[in-house]
Symmetry: C2
Subunit: 444 residues, 2 copies
């Protein structure tokens, strides 16, 4: 290895880090990497220090005091510096970040990234690039913040065949659902509160429509099944359709409503899905409140292991990023070359198929607004019977005198998604049915 690959450091020499981005997380990471004699160097076994930081605007006031000359607006100052051994990317977004990561890996630099979007869309390509260049590529912070789920999927749980991953991996939406459950507020009101508290962005689409969760699920599934999945493989339904009465019925039926990201393997095919679901109230996932995240991995040997913790925020994300930096430095060990270990190798053999959502078999909660007149329930039951969908429970409530409407809630026994969707269409066409208000899957 030559100096141009950035690997000229000797055993006791300082490992230099180049940081791309100095936002909330970047500032947290910078604080941990400042100073040669930091406790971090002690843990990593070698001195580690921050050498250069890429920002958009040098003059912007910041929460952190950095040494003169450490900031740059020119990425090349970092990417082309042979003395920078590790790139830490906490910029977010895809446009510039992906190019920087590729350039860094191609130069043999190790990469630590918190970028779920890049990892979900281009993770396999980046891993291959890392492998070819003898570099490490670590991305613990891309999923679950301070929860060490990425590393565990790569390493500690590697002896397992993964049966399923069920997770709450978006703190914004878990906060909104927790508010809706406890205060019976509307979605709009809970979203507004989340925005005021800084938990939700001005444009909340990525969170509430499940795009963020789908990125993270793509990463977890790719690690768990050791195969490259794409965000487009994930079936996605957001939470904006939920109404306060759904939470009331859920509680009455013994469930909580949680925004789940699920991957499971069945008959050689993987199903990837993100949607709000009924979860039994006594299940650990039902108890995950506020901005917390949780991931339940069901492995062939370990059984169900649940991880619970802070899924976002400056410090939990810094925990993940700096943990990865330590791992990279430890892997660099006492040799003058990287280990080439990127933590995950693709599986040999036939790739697993992605099962379409229509093939899902689940139980369903269906809420309907119907005319308050005789025979409506019989018509609905007939439609379900025609579709071979068996009814588990029926609740009829809340006659609105002014609108002459009633609300019917039906839960089903396990049924095929395609049949249920067909039945829902048929129901919507019934003369007595005013509206199919909501359909929510039940995950036992």
């Amino acid at each position: 290895m030559t100096a141009s690959t950035g690997m000229s450091a000797e055993s006791s020499a300082v490992i230099n880090v180049g940081l791309l981005g100095l936002g909330v997380v970047g500032t947290g990471v910078a604080e941990k990497l400042l100073g040669k004699g930091s406790p971090l160097s002690d843990v990593a076994g070698r001195p580690v220090q921050l050498k250069q930081v890429l920002v958009r605007d040098i003059s912007r006031p910041r929460d952190i005091d950095l040494p003169e000359g450490m900031l740059t607006t020119n990425a090349e100052d970092i990417l082309a510096d042979p003395d920078i051994h590790i790139l830490v990317e906490v910029m977010g977004g895809v446009d510039s970040a992906e190019g920087y990561l590729k350039q860094g890996l191609a130069a043999g630099k190790h990469v630590v990234t918190a970028n779920k979007e890049v990892m979900a869309k281009s993770g396999p390509e980046l891993m291959e690039l890392a492998r070819r260049n003898g570099a490490s590529l670590l991305f613990e912070a891309s999923v679950g913040g301070g929860i060490p789920i990425v590393g565990c999927m790569m390493n500690e749980l590697a002896a397992n065949d993964i049966r399923s991953i069920r997770s709450i991996i978006n703190g914004t939406t878990n906060y909104i659902l927790t508010r809706m459950a406890h205060e019976r507020t509307s979605f709009q009101q809970a979203l507004g509160e989340a925005q005021q508290l800084g938990y939700a962005e001005a444009d909340p689409t990525n969170d509430v429509e499940g795009i963020d969760a789908a990125y993270k699920l793509t990463i977890l599934a790719s690690l768990g099944y050791r195969q490259a999945f794409k965000p487009g493989d994930v079936y996605c339904e957001g939470i904006s359709k939920l109404e306060p009465q759904d939470f009331r019925y859920a509680e009455e039926l013994g469930y909580a409503i949680k925004f789940l990201a699920i991957a499971n393997l069945n008959d050689g095919a993987v199903q990837l899905r993100v949607y709000p679901a009924f979860v039994p109230a006594e299940h650990m996932l039902a108890k995950v409140d506020g901005v917390y995240n949780a991931v339940e991995v069901d492995g062939s040997l370990c059984g169900k292991v649940l991880f619970h913790g802070m899924g976002a925020g400056r410090e939990p994300t810094t925990s993940a990023v700096v943990g990865d930096v330590i791992e990279v430095v430890r892997k660099m060990g006492s040799q003058d070359q990287p280990s080439g270990q990127v933590g995950v190798e693709p599986k040999n053999g036939t790739p697993l198929a992605v099962r379409p959502i229509g093939d899902l078999e689940a139980q369903y909660y269906i809420r309907l607004e119907v005319a308050d007149s005789p025979g409506v329930l019989a018509q609905i039951a007939q439609v379900l019977g025609d579709g071979q969908i068996s009814i588990a429970a029926v609740l009829q409530r809340e006659t609105h005198h002014e609108t002459q409407s009633a609300e019917i809630v039906i839960t089903t026994h396990p049924a095929k998604e395609a049949s249920v969707q067909k039945a829902l269409e048929a129901m919507a066409g019934l003369p007595g049915v005013k509206r199919v208000s909501n359909t929510i899957r039940i995950e036992e």
Copy 2:
């Protein structure tokens, strides 16, 4: 490196494993390691196979078919075989196991062990031996079965200063407490059931007196604080003193009773303790039922991360052992020498003191059997007041007409353990107090 160190394997050559012990866990591990083309080799990146297994009695019938000649009763067949690269120890106990591990490490063999007793008593010494001989020493299975807590303490959470570890790490006692809480059975009856189900041993001392939990806590604390603690540093109280009414009062006061193993750092000193404690009913630890384990790590960056899963049993333990084998093989990488990385380096600087239990500051639940006569509560309150112990709540119940006794339950605000112990002695000497029935710490 020469063949005599066991490191003669080339990049694509088979990695040979020597297995010490073929009990329940050993059989699970052997099944995963049998056969060169196993999926395990795929995950580890190199072919891995079982070469030899140490047993006490070759002729004993077993659940597993092993190739002719794979069993031996002579440890030297494994320890002195230069072609065996990894020792996997699942014998348990200290006597022979420790010697075998030392001999293996001294010969440069990598070691994977499930042995909590050896790691708690001699872990630091074995780690030093591994370091000197360029060998890896991994012990994920020694704590928490299928829960990847050991690896996470070493690696994924390495960026954190650990504030506390609070854990339920003995499945036998958690099963017993769960039965006592749900069925209001006596300790003896719940223990008998656990024994019938194979969850408790004929001599349950190690589990019910907290010796097993103290070993595991010693390991976790040593990793978390990067300093060698000893089992003797752990203050330990068992669960046999618990009575059904303690569970009734706990529920009434909004708590569950859990057998906790706790390490926390305060003012430069670490306190290590194992005892049954009141845990707020809404806390995740209160919801850990049956033979499940859970570990909550509070780190300076990650905040509180909780791990929940199966803490024992053949398959969860196999998950941990084989995960370690995979890690060792990956670390061996493509070079002909081990990385010398053992996952944890001792911290520089002043060692942390171990804080004695008398210095604990906690809330307390105190249950007393008193004479059903006036003035007794006043006397008790006086004793507490004299010790500067402030009362949070008082319940008086259950007058037994035949014995002229009443039961008083007191909870305190935070107080010093030493003061509480002194007050308990004074209370026991009061004329109106027949018995200090129980004292249980409250962990908020």
